[in-house]
Symmetry: C2
Subunit: 140 residues, 2 copies
């Protein structure tokens, strides 16, 4: 299942590492040096449609990359992020083929300085009505 024109189905010489069902490429453009993408080889758009083997292969690569980025001093820690955003049009910065960002992080790094420092403003206490409504939605 390869989608014509999907850059992640046809990564050509960009593959840095792979296993049976998953592959690693470097993000380009990238947020910070070491910003890496791990994804299934198969064109999957909804994360919950990944097979057990794909999920396991993806995380084998993520865990390997995380430790190498830290050992290689590109960060003191690492964030992993997977965005499912069907409300955005596919573009150079948004591809529909499921992928996991692996991003080296350090204290008050460039990402923090440019955008993440605003994150703390977002947090608010969970009130009782919201707790009840979200619990009811999720628990079943």
């Amino acid at each position: 299942m390869t989608e014509i024109g999907c850059p992640f189905c046809n990564p050509l010489e960009r593959i840095v590492k792979s296993n049976s069902t998953a592959q690693v490429i470097l993000s380009d453009p990238r947020k910070i040096p070491g910003h890496t993408l791990v994804m299934p080889k198969r064109h999957v758009e909804k994360p919950w449609e990944l097979t057990a083997e794909e999920l396991s292969d993806i995380y084998a690569l993520i865990f390997d990359v995380e430790q190498k980025l830290i050992n290689g001093k590109l960060g003191d820690g690492v964030d992993v992020r997977q965005n499912y955003r069907p409300f955005m049009q596919q573009s150079k910065l948004k591809l529909d083929h499921v992928h996991f960002h692996v991003v080296p992080r350090s204290l008050e790094d460039y990402i923090y300085a440019v955008s993440e420092k605003y994150d703390t403003e977002l947090f608010a206490e969970l009130d009782d009505d919201e707790r009840e409504a979200v619990t009811k939605l999720i628990e079943d």
Copy 2:
């Protein structure tokens, strides 16, 4: 392996859903309504120390929660994020017990307006020297 004083090892009445080795709680404080946390029951601090069963159980819950948040109209999409940040002190907003944030998202939502709109400034082209250095670090 339960760490005394770790709120995620001792979540008490906060558990919304669980399976053999993983559990779901609501983030409190939260960034946006529906902000949920999925984590192993066991106190694991390094993500690559999760067992295959824990990873599989965690993602069974993540995939379930993602679809419920979207079906329940809390978002049109969803982000999943796992931060490994040993460089930060444990606090109310930073816990060492590995956890995955599941966050409902929509076009130009509150998270975008407050912090994420600055993210696009971060991206830069990957130059040849950087590509070579990062590839060498990761490929082996």
